[in-house]
């Protein structure tokens, strides 16, 4: 008893400190590091350029292409109106800068400088010039964390826009992903464009994902293709957070053959 008392008198302060340190580490972990990301946002803000000054669309050719795209979209909308298709008015996304990358090497994540104060929600889809980038997994008041398509846990239901062959992609770090087909003999060629499919529950259909780089039809259990993601993920600086209405698209139809969207739930 005496030794215990002496020990306590001697190490009381250290013990309390260790307790506090352990406790706060657990607390920070339970809150997914919200505090740390807020501090990071505050510190990084000093070095960040003003978003207004950044003119993303300075390229004249890009503007021309966009004008043509708007024109085509409107034509498309008018044709849809003609056939009585439910109208989907276009909503502007939220431009966000990438302020940080992933804090370890196993996860492919980025941190954005927009958070719940700007209306960002968990599950919002993130795109960039080039195509789909990922999905928001954590939100703090001024920052949000995106799980990239290139992360091995992120899975998206996709189809080839030429042959409509379906499958799902699994990230492979950097800017590659593996496409696993659902059928045995898919019609696939090098260079085919891959877009997100309507079966995905987490991502809206028809967003460009990438291009087929190589094909391995003999792979067991399912044929595979390597996809080069079209968004330059490793050199991105700006992304667009899509409005939540577009982001979440629950499929009511339960007798779908195989729902890749279910697989797309990252195991966090």
């Amino acid at each position: 008893m005496f030794t215990l008392h002496r020990w306590w008198n001697r190490y009381r302060f250290q013990t309390l400190l260790v307790g506090v340190a352990l406790g706060s580490a657990v607390l920070i972990r339970q809150t997914n590091g919200a505090l740390l990301f807020e501090v990071y946002h505050l510190v990084a803000g000093v070095f960040r350029p003003n978003p207004v000054q950044e003119n993303l669309l300075s390229n004249a050719q890009l503007q021309e292409l966009q004008l043509r795209l708007t024109e085509l979209e409107q034509q498309n909308q008018r044709l849809r109106d003609l056939v009585g298709f439910q109208s989907q008015s276009k909503q502007e996304g939220l431009l966000a800068s990438i302020i940080g990358r992933s804090a370890d090497h196993w996860w492919q994540q980025v941190t954005l400088g927009r958070g719940s104060n700007d209306g960002v929600q968990i599950g919002s889809v993130v795109t960039a010039p080039g195509g789909l980038v990922g999905r928001i997994t954590h939100v703090t008041p001024t920052t949000s964390r995106v799980l990239l398509l290139s992360d091995p846990t992120s899975r998206v239901g996709v189809l080839l826009s030429r042959s409509r062959s379906m499958g799902y992609i699994r990230g492979q770090a950097s800017n590659r992903a593996v496409l696993e087909f659902f059928e045995k003999g898919p019609d696939v060629r090098k260079g085919d464009v891959v877009v997100s499919s309507a079966l995905s529950q987490l991502f809206p259909a028809g967003l460009p994902v990438g291009r087929v780089e190589s094909v391995n039809l003999n792979k067991s259990p399912a044929p595979e293709a390597i996809i080069e993601l079209s968004a330059p993920i490793s050199s991105l600086e700006w992304v667009v957070i899509q409005p939540p209405r577009l982001s979440v698209q629950p499929e009511e139809n339960s007798d779908q053959p195989q729902d890749a969207g279910q697989k797309a739930e990252p195991q966090l």
């Binding site: 302060f13 400190l17 260790v18 340190a21 352990l22 580490a25 657990v26 920070i28 972990r29 809150t31 997914n32 590091g33 740390l36 990301f37 501090v39 990071y40 510190v43 990084a44 302020i99 940080g100 990358r101 992933s102 804090a103 370890d104 090497h105 196993w106 996860w107 994540q109 941190t111 091995p152 846990t153 492979q172 770090a173 950097s174 490793s234 195991q267 966090l268």
Partner: protein, 187 residues
């Protein structure tokens, strides 16, 4: 001169010394946490940066006991979990790094600091990534081939970069702790 005045200011006030010491320690951890989100040019190899928290754990454990190393490894591992995702946890890998670094008892055999710290960090980076890879293997949601191919890439790049950047964290911190220790003994 400035260091001297700080010394004399802290020498007679054990409580102030204590808090300043902890503030510096805590501040350096925070700095390492925030830097790990950055990829500065020249600081990355194939998209992989140095593992700053690992460097900090090595710097802490080199002249401390096994338990202190393990404890700090667990705390920093939990913090890194908070920054990425809780499963698999980084606490195991960093705790092991803390234990092993403390068990090396470097100061008993080698006086020299610069290269030995870099070498220890190199080895520990490989150890910590291997522990992570083993955890992923047991989790079973990725194929083993993928995990271990990727492990090769990141273990090597992270080990090279971490060992090169290790002295930047180690030297100031070590100097600080040494001075605080001296003051402790004087008073």
């Amino acid at each position: 001169m400035k260091a001297d005045s700080l010394d004399s200011a802290l020498q007679d006030r054990p409580l102030a010394r204590f808090w300043v010491n902890w503030a510096v320690t805590f501040g350096s951890v925070l700095l390492c946490l925030l830097i790990s989100l950055l990829r500065l040019p020249g600081m990355e190899l194939a998209g992989i940066g140095p593992n700053w928290l690992l460097i900090w754990v090595v710097a802490w454990s080199v002249k401390r006991t096994m338990w202190q190393g393990a404890l700090v490894g667990v705390i920093l591992g939990l913090l890194q979990d908070a920054m990425t995702a809780p499963s698999p946890t980084h606490a195991w890998s960093l705790a092991l790094v803390g234990i092993l670094t403390a068990r090396l008892r470097k100061e008993r055999y080698i006086q020299e600091d610069f290269i030995s710290i870099a070498l220890i960090t190199f080895g520990m980076a490989v150890v910590s990534e291997t522990v992570m890879a083993i955890q992923y293997s047991f989790q079973g949601n990725r194929s083993l081939v993928e995990i271990w191919n990727y492990h090769q890439l990141i273990a090597l790049s992270s080990a090279i970069l971490s060992s090169l950047w290790a002295p930047i964290v180690y030297f100031p911190l070590n100097l600080w702790w040494k001075r605080m220790n001296e003051l402790e003994q004087q008073s």
